[in-house]
Symmetry: C3
Subunit: 116 residues, 3 copies
């Protein structure tokens, strides 16, 4: 079975991010990375969780997941509102114009939605 899933974060709270990372790691024990399309979309104040200093405690987990193909997408509306520049963010993060559009688009493409 091919796995398609998007995880959604919108609050400035590390717990749901840690939960999402654990979920992804568990998932990748069940299916090979080639059979999985896994994405995390952060909008609202959740984008702060990916700032370099803030992300230090879990950065290595994000980098390792990104290396297996997991995408980490941050909402540009949110980054702009909070004055956060791309060079302040963990390297594997992608910027998408509107996080909410990405969440809708991915579900329209049959991704499961998980809100940790």
């Amino acid at each position: 079975m091919d796995i398609k899933v998007v995880f959604h974060l919108d609050w400035d709270n590390e717990d749901p991010l840690i939960m999402a990372l654990t979920n992804m790691e568990n998932l990748l024990k069940e299916v090979s990375a080639e059979d999985a399309s896994i994405c995390l979309v952060a909008n609202g104040v959740a984008v702060k969780l990916f700032q370099l200093e803030r992300a230090e405690p879990y950065a290595s987990r994000i980098v390792k997941l990104a290396e297996t193909g997991v995408r980490f997408c941050l909402c540009n509306n949110a980054l702009r509102n909070m004055g956060i520049q791309q060079d302040e963010l963990l390297a594997p993060c992608e910027i998408v114009p509107a996080g909410i559009m990405e969440l809708i688009r991915l579900q329209a493409e049959d991704c499961a939605y998980i809100k940790p």
Copy 2:
């Protein structure tokens, strides 16, 4: 691309409502209202957020979104449990018999689900 999305609120907490309103406003900068089917369903204690006095700080945003076609659906089971009458609610709100049924029905019709 046509946009179909339902936002779900179930707690007596303004923050996720404000997040949903911001998400909707951002969405309507990306797509025209004619191409979007946007609905918010509130069940459980979240229906209190739409009482006239309580809703004052964000009422104008709800009214403006409703004018562009966004639907605000409140669960009648919840309203009845809390003894809230329709005339105590913001004018654009619709009452649906069971919020949970509406959430399932909309997803069965290919709406994306967003839980702020």
Copy 3:
């Protein structure tokens, strides 16, 4: 209309569980149990909510729902991490290897997703 829905719990908090039970009970007033496929998946620390002593206040509601066909699925990764044995759990609970896989699989089979 046939109803297919999965409720997701992942935190050690009774409120979303009570909300889910109420949602399910309301749902089963609208549709007959034969026309509904209702599942709850608990992963992460939410599995603790189904330990016998802890679950006492709402155990009878879970048992009654299970008798009408509602499934209560607990993540084995989570149970193992927390050292919880099957005989410590409410009888109607099923154990699934990975909660996250179950959530993705059910949504791929057109279940609506609800996060209380």
